[in-house]
Symmetry: C2
Subunit: 276 residues, 2 copies
């Protein structure tokens, strides 16, 4: 199979690295010449292209790992092989799929996906097949998808090290992702921004503050797009979180140990069972 990965950043780079040794013909497209050369030198891709039109027209599977708006541009500006599959790694799906379905050739199958894997560090040098190890994958099924294409993608992803592949609608994806991905980012941003900077904070932190603020360092263009394209779900998730924070506040205001203990017992049990 001819597979082309578009955008060899940390996610796209991890795809080409995870694909090594699986017997596919893997090509890469990126704007950065050095990245392409490095991917070639490491034997991850047969050849790299800055202009991918030629290889795209021959690819059986195109994995587009670009920012949402660039994925749409890429689909618009390229002629894909008839009967081939395109997939992506965009973090929001309802809005994005609507847009994508408007521009995609009906002879081409778009199976949208979301590898729940990444790093706060950017770029090919941080890409690794370990990024995918034990990570979760969500595949999006929408009414025009062919069943066999979804099944193919499920199997394909399963060979790359992911521990779970779930198939769901774009709406369900955006609902759960507003809670598991966007809410944590909103919280991390609000936490570090709420520092009154009276003290030299970095000298008074442990791993808890480090862990909770790590994802506060984010690309503002990407994340404002992700937040705004899923704003209703995200607002609901924030409000549910605030209700729980209110319970903690209630325990503090009323000096009620029992309220707090109950909340902590519940959170501990949930955390222990999270990935069981």
């Amino acid at each position: 199979m001819i597979i082309t990965v578009v955008g060899l950043g940390v996610v796209g780079g991890s795809f080409v690295k995870a694909l090594k040794g699986h017997g596919h013909q893997v090509y890469g497209i990126d704007i950065d010449e050095n990245t392409l050369k490095r991917a070639e030198d490491e034997g991850c891709i047969i050849k790299g292209y800055q202009d991918g039109r030629e290889i795209i027209s021959k690819s059986d599977l195109t994995i587009i790992c670009l920012y949402p708006s660039l994925v749409l541009d890429f689909i618009k500006n390229n002629q894909f092989k008839k009967g081939s599959i395109i997939t992506d790694a965009v973090g929001i799906k309802s809005y994005f799929l609507q847009e994508a379905m408007n521009i995609i050739d009906p002879d081409v199958e778009f199976v949208s996906g979301h590898p729940m894997a990444g790093r706060e560090k950017k770029g090919f040098e941080y890409a690794s097949k370990d990024v995918f190890k034990n990570a979760n994958y969500i595949l999006i099924e929408h009414p025009v998808n062919k069943k066999e294409c979804i099944e193919f993608m499920e199997k394909f992803v399963g060979t790359l090290g992911f521990k779970s592949v779930k198939i769901m609608s774009p709406q369900a994806h955006d609902e759960i992702i507003s809670f598991t991905s966007q809410l944590p980012h909103a919280i991390a941003v609000a936490l570090i921004n709420s520092d009154n900077e009276k003290y030299d904070t970095g000298k008074y932190i442990g791993d808890s503050y480090r862990d909770l603020t790590r994802i506060a360092n984010i690309n503002e263009a990407l994340w404002s797009e992700l937040f705004l394209r899923n704003r209703e779900n995200l607002l609901k998730s924030i409000e549910a979180f605030e209700l729980q924070l209110d319970l903690i506040k209630q325990g503090l205001v009323e000096n009620d140990e029992q309220i707090l203990k109950k909340l902590f017992i519940n959170s501990s049990k949930r955390r222990e069972n999270l990935e069981k």
Copy 2:
């Protein structure tokens, strides 16, 4: 110098491991016989005691790594060597020091401390001198402390791998800690408790949710005590956080990309500079 570490859990265990090879005579006290045996076998302590009265009366430095209320009991029930120093690792200081000063022998110097190091895992087997590596330490100075004892502790802690040792009042400690430690714990608990459990959440998470909920698994007795003994500071920290979360909500409600971008640029800059 004769040093006795009381409680060989992850923090106390890390103390005896970090003290190896520094030329001190190190002893350990713990209720668990196996832990003491293991610490002896690993050459971390000369001898372990379940009843420590004998060794405590000879120790120049006693490092008590027990839960807050147990520290007070231990101080009450033991006769310390005249002129010796006692320290602890309790996470709240104003209330705790008040209680401790009421019961401590005036011939003994209590230099309270807070190693900002730990693990979500409990027990001696997770203790390691690496726990202290590059971590922060806070030493508490109060009016009855002898200057030379504070200076001694500052130097002593510096030999154990910590990258920063700060000296401050109990009030300042509790203020900054309500933000850097207790607020993150409150957030983690509220986040995981706000899961409506409509989906099998563990299959739809990435590292962001894992990182932000790791500390949601906490000991309910310890943490309700830490929260309630510092409730006014913690409530202020929660309220400052909520104001920042409100700004994100405002950006979402008003569909305003500029508000969000500004918040994300600020949080990214703060995170990048956090430990510089």
